[in-house]
């Protein structure tokens, strides 16, 4: 019955992608990116178990490090944008295109 986790992982990845595409406020977009990263972690762990080598689990370790760095920088960017333009929505942030 553990095959259900493969389907769960790909479902959650597509769910996170859908959220990244349709969500409007920046913090929710970052949350959906975290969801995608987490589902990829699950796939790494599953493949590592299926093949029988522990390298995939170490890969998860590195993915978590990168996710932590990404969350810190993304959230500080959001705070700076909120102080500057007083909005947390992606369509209000057009500083580069103007």
């Amino acid at each position: 019955m553990m095959e259900i986790y493969y389907y769960l992982a790909i479902f959650l990845f597509c769910l996170g992608l859908l959220g990244t595409l349709i969500k409007k406020d920046l913090i929710s977009i970052l949350l959906c990116v975290e969801l995608m990263l987490s589902s990829v972690n699950l796939l790494f762990a599953l493949f590592s178990k299926a093949i029988g080598v522990p390298d995939g689990q170490l890969q998860v370790f590195f993915v978590i490090i990168v996710a932590a760095a990404e969350a810190a920088i993304g959230l500080s960017l959001i705070i700076t944008l909120f102080k500057k333009v007083k909005s947390g929505y992606s369509e209000d942030v057009l500083i580069l295109s103007e």
Partner: protein, 167 residues
Amino acid sequence: MGLNEYIDIFLAVFTGFFSLIVVFGRNPVVCALSLLMSFIGFAGIFFQLGSVFLTTIQVLVYAGAIAILFIFVLMLINTSHYKYSQTKKSINPVLGTIFTFILLGGFTLVINNNIDYLNVDRLPTTSMKVLFVDLFNKYLLPFELATVLILVAIVASVVISNKRGEK
């Protein structure tokens, strides 16, 4: 079906339900708290897979640090003061949904075709010793680079959100 199968199904439904709230919830605070619950579900799945190390890391770093960081930032910026913009020029949600469903179908097809090689039923627990011998021999350089990455991220987040840098 034994107890383990029921736990598998329960964890999958639990994680999927809270992830659905993350994507389709309206309130960002509810979304962040659901993400926290979904991370706890992931930790349970890692435990079912027999990976104690990943369970610990998931609870400590993901649920304990990253999700709490999101909730902290949501408390810091008052979301009720969000200003709604007038122009609605974003990606068409219908197009995004269609693309996502095509991708989901493709992934399901790939997993379905290879499910015989991907058997993970009740494997023994991976010991921490095996993992860390690999980490500090085979993956020593990536590990050091990861520490540099974390240092750069700390400095960058301080510099970006520093008030004195603004004109």
